[in-house]
Subunit: 267 residues, 2 copies
């Protein structure tokens, strides 16, 4: 199957313009799965709750979800995209998995980074995996984590233990370490990972956050099989053989998951 | 405090000669803690159970343990060293923490690599941390894991959650990935790590294992603060401020351990 990650600079609060740009970027790939950044349509560093109110939406019926569905229909693909979710009085930093039929799954970010804590609630649901099919009808199992989740090995591990072959990782990374950590997340779980990060910067008061780009796709043997620069706006596509992620054997006598010894671990 | 890792090529089964060499290598450092490789006195790739019987010993009274105690007394330091342990009818790939008073703690490798499974039993005890003191009387908390344990994020995580400031990591690495994974293990737990790997190669029948050297010491911000080449025999020493490992804060609003959400994780 083919997986793409999209790296670009959204304009703060310009949801419709951003969706137009994302639509155009998605047109550049015939991937089965396209991963877009965290909060890809809204921008990230909210100046006020009012700004967040303006751009947040209910899942699955909001404008971002509806537009993603149209793109998925047109391109016959599945899209993973970060969305500012409004649910009653609460906001979540969420990601949706959208196909031609609409939203197939949603994930609420569990590990909130920095000032996200002032606006969003942390997701309370466990990590879950969804069955999807590529254009050839081959099943693959998708897990989703968002940005800062990378720092916690338990996130990718939970998804992999639940059967994820591929982890979609919409991001708005501002710290430097993730691009060298993701190959290790892929390696230690023998899964594919697809990190779609944004570029550009956003300011709030005296503080500017600069996003580091460097989106990357990693293979189960811990290699970055493709990556983008710190600043380019581009689509990165990789052809992957999902069956590689199902083989957890690392020597003739070692299986990565059968060799785990949960009884010895401390959580 | 000062921590050293020793990288060298042991001679297969030549325990006394290897201990002489280790004694000499330890004399090259005034570190508070010296980490030696996995199975540092015996060699690794046993040609038969009989060979393992010859070089294995009871902990804490075997010849390797006794000799390490003498070195620790003379150098006023603590030593971590891999030892082939014999316990009744069973063998363990173990590591001992030895000070002037003798063996202070022992760890039996939980994740056995490849043909180790044909000779050793896996450790059944949970990961534990021990309180130690440097020459200035400053307490530090030491965890021990051995070689292939690096592959499983749960090993370092268990030690860090139990309070380890520093993870000693005696190794006989033959796979290429560990040197780029250890900085991530340090980063994701905000601990120091000290990987002491061996060099050289050993054969059994048609099969040769070549050990990759590249011993390294990593800091809680995920940097290799020192490393050795693939082939040199040498002692690598780093001065570390153990208090850095006690500060799990990564932004003004994020604490690496307080931000964990075990209820969301799947084990």
């Amino acid at each position: 199957m083919k997986v793409s990650v999209v790296q670009y600079t959204p304009e703060y609060l310009k949801v419709d313009a951003n969706l137009d740009r994302l639509d155009g970027l998605c047109a550049a790939t015939d991937a089965d799965l396209i991963v877009l950044p965290e909060l890809a349509a809204s921008g990230y560093f909210f100046k006020s709750v009012a700004d967040l109110v303006d751009v947040s939406e209910q899942i699955p019926d909001g404008r971002v979800c509806r537009r993603l569905q149209k793109i998925a229909q047109r391109r016959e693909c599945t899209i993973v995209c970060g969305v500012a979710e409004k649910n009653g009085p609460y906001f979540f930093n969420s990601a949706v998995v959208v196909g031609a039929e609409g939203v197939a799954a949603a994930y609420r970010k569990v590990h909130l980074f920095y000032k996200e804590k002032e606006l969003f609630r942390a997701g309370k649901e466990p990590y879950e995996v969804i069955d999807l099919y590529d254009r050839n009808g081959t099943k693959y199992r998708l897990g989703v984590m968002i940005c800062f989740d990378w720092y916690f090995p338990e996130a990718a591990r939970s998804l992999a233990l639940k059967g994820a072959d591929l982890i979609a990782h919409p991001s708005n990374l501002v710290r430097k370490d993730c691009p060298r950590a993701m190959p290790i997340r892929a390696l230690e779980n023998r899964v594919f990972t697809a990190t779609a990060n944004r570029t550009g910067s956003e300011s709030h008061g005296d503080e500017t956050l600069t996003f580091i780009g460097q989106s990357l796709i990693c293979s189960p043997d811990g290699q970055a099989i493709g990556s983008l620069s710190a600043t380019e706006e581009a689509v990165l596509t990789a052809e992957i053989d999902i069956s590689e992620a199902r083989n957890k054997r690392i020597t003739p006598l070692n299986d990565l998951f059968l060799d785990r010894r949960p009884g010895r671990y401390y959580y």
